[in-house]
Structures are given as structure tokens and as C-alpha cells.
């Protein structure tokens, strides 16, 4: 597995840059990851990111958009505003979780 340096720290990533080690993530790293894709984290972003982190810890899978809207109560429209164009992928990237997978 490849390593890369983000914010002066070496982390393990997959070929697309998604973190592969759950334990290597913290809030500071999230800010760096967000900055890499042009997002500045606000309280609204943190609510989604922390939900994803907690959900992954118990479920072992990256939450779907549907799951975030239903369980964290953040409307889809808002997710598209917070994480433009590709909310599922961008949230997972910032939260240091595996890229959500489609069916094929």
C-alpha cells in the first residue's frame, strides 16, 4: 500500500488517495484533506464527517448518501452544497474512509 505525505505527516492511501488506515485520521488531517479538494470545513461539514467516522466504526462500511440523510438528518440538497458535485466521494475522502462502492 502506498504512503503519501499530507500536512507533513506520512499516511497510507489507495491509488485514488483515499486513506486506508482508519487510525491515521484526525480532525487536523481532515482539514488538510478538505483543503486538497478545495473545501474549507465549517460546522455543517463536521457534522457529516463525524457521522461518517462514527458510522464506519460500528458498520465497517462507508455510509451512503441515503444513510447520511436518514440517520444524520442532513438533507441531500445540503450535502451537494457542502461537498459539490460528488458528495459521497468527497465526504469519504475527507473522513479518511474507503471510497464508497457502486454495484458493478
Amino acid at each position: 500500500m502506498a504512503t503519501t505525505t499530507i500536512g507533513g505527516r506520512a499516511v497510507h492511501v489507495d491509488p485514488e488517495g483515499f486513506l486506508t488506515e482508519y487510525g491515521e485520521w484526525d480532525d487536523d488531517l481532515a482539514r488538510q484533506l478538505a483543503a486538497q479538494i478545495g473545501i474549507e470545513l465549517t460546522d455543517a461539514h463536521w457534522k457529516a464527517i463525524h457521522f461518517l467516522r462514527e458510522d464506519y466504526r460500528t458498520q465497517g462500511e462507508t455510509a451512503t448518501i441515503r444513510r447520511v440523510t436518514t440517520l444524520a438528518g442532513i438533507p441531500t440538497k445540503e450535502l451537494f452544497t457542502l461537498f459539490p458535485k460528488k458528495p459521497a466521494k468527497k465526504m469519504a475522502y475527507i473522513a479518511g474512509l474507503p471510497k464508497p462502492h457502486g454495484c458493478v
Partner: protein, 206 residues
């Protein structure tokens, strides 16, 4: 193939609403796509009784271990077929291949023995492409559909991820297999685990 048929692909497009008067699809991020004829697939959800049972997730599927189909919440509950939240297609092939493995595993489980088999997410399906031709794809949790031959390497008879008339005839033959072999539960000579034999990996991944 999409270029040949002048088919445009708009990815990551989540439909927020449809304007039937303007004949337009509108996404959550305000992109608009006009249409003459709309064919759309609604959100695929599990059965209502799974929601009322309290076992379901936000899509009414029972969260299970993706290799054994055992509920992640209750050790004595298993969910098969479209009731489970396996992270792959809700396809007949998935239900079939996973059930093959599940039967052997479950018999061991009720005999008090450890479950030794793991479902790999194996799925395959024909895709009709028109003009008497079709494609066949074969994949699992970890391996995307790759070109090659199925079920036997080099001789097939079916070509994977390529369009030809043989795949279309295979689809028609499968209609018979479905009713006369699969539904009555007769064994079919196909392994339930996906095989890399006969598949060609793209050069960059080698």
C-alpha cells in the same frame, strides 16, 4: 459503444425533481437535462416487512457479514437474496451463487461446526445490446468486470465484456435454463466462486 450510438453519460447526477411540463430532469446541484421520453429507475429498497421487523437498515436491507450472510446484529439470524445488504448488485446471479455457498455453510452451522466457506460477491449477467447482439459480464466484490471468456478460458463459449451475437444466443438459452434448471433447483455446472482463469487484466494493473 456509447460514442457509436451517440449516448451521452452524465455521472453523479442525483435527480431531485422532474419538471413534466418543461420535460426536464433537475439534479440536487441544479443541473438540468431535457428529455423526450424518460425511462427512470426509482430507488431500490428492500421489503416493508424488513423495516417493520426492526432488522433493516435505512434501505430496508438486513445488515449481514458479506461473506457468510449472517446478521451483524444477531448471531442466529441469516438473510439471503434481496433481503441482505451485500455490497453488490441485487441480481439473480448473486442470490444463486451466494445460496450455493450458504447451503453448505448453514448445514455446518446447524451441526455446530464452523462455517468454512466465504461468499466472494460473484455476479454475472448478460446485457442485451440490440441488433441480435449482447455482452456478458462476470465480477465479484474485488474484481471489476474484465474482458475474457466464460465459463472456460480461451474457448468460452461466451465472450466477456465484448459485444457479439453468441452472447445474445446465450441469453436466449439462459431463459430455458432459468425455468428448467435454476428454478427447480437442479445443479448447473457453474462454480459459485468467480474465477480469474479466462480473464485478462488491463496492462496497467499487472
Amino acid at each position: 459503444m456509447l460514442d457509436d450510438r451517440k449516448i451521452a453519460l452524465e455521472s453523479d447526477f442525483l435527480v431531485e425533481r422532474i419538471d413534466p411540463d418543461a420535460k426536464t430532469l433537475i439534479s440536487y446541484d441544479e443541473r438540468e437535462i431535457p428529455f423526450d421520453l424518460l425511462v427512470t429507475v426509482p430507488l431500490n429498497m428492500g421489503a416493508d416487512y424488513i423495516a417493520t421487523s426492526g432488522l433493516g437498515n435505512e434501505l430496508n436491507y438486513v445488515p449481514v457479514d458479506k461473506h457468510t450472510l449472517r446478521s451483524r446484529a444477531y448471531d442466529n439470524i441469516f438473510a439471503i437474496g434481496d433481503a441482505a445488504d451485500l455490497p453488490t448488485s441485487k441480481a439473480g446471479s448473486v442470490a444463486h451463487f451466494s445460496a450455493d455457498m450458504f447451503t453448505r455453510n448453514f448445514l455446518r452451522y446447524v451441526a455446530g461446526k464452523p462455517m468454512t466457506e466465504k461468499f466472494d460477491g460473484h455476479a454475472n449477467c448478460f446485457i442485451e445490446s440490440g441488433d441480435g447482439k449482447g455482452l456478458l459480464i462476470d465480477f465479484n466484490y474485488d474484481t471489476e468486470p474484465l474482458p475474457g471468456y466464460y465459463p472456460l478460458p480461451a474457448v468460452g463459449p461466451f465472450g466477456l465484456l465484448r459485444e457479439n451475437s453468441r452472447n445474445h444466443w446465450g441469453k436466449l438459452a439462459f431463459r430455458w435454463m432459468y425455468w428448467h434448471l435454476l428454478l427447480p433447483g437442479r445443479p448447473i455446472p457453474l462454480p459459485d466462486h468467480m474465477s480469474m482463469t479466462g480473464k485478462q487484466r488491463p496492462a496497467k494493473e499487472r
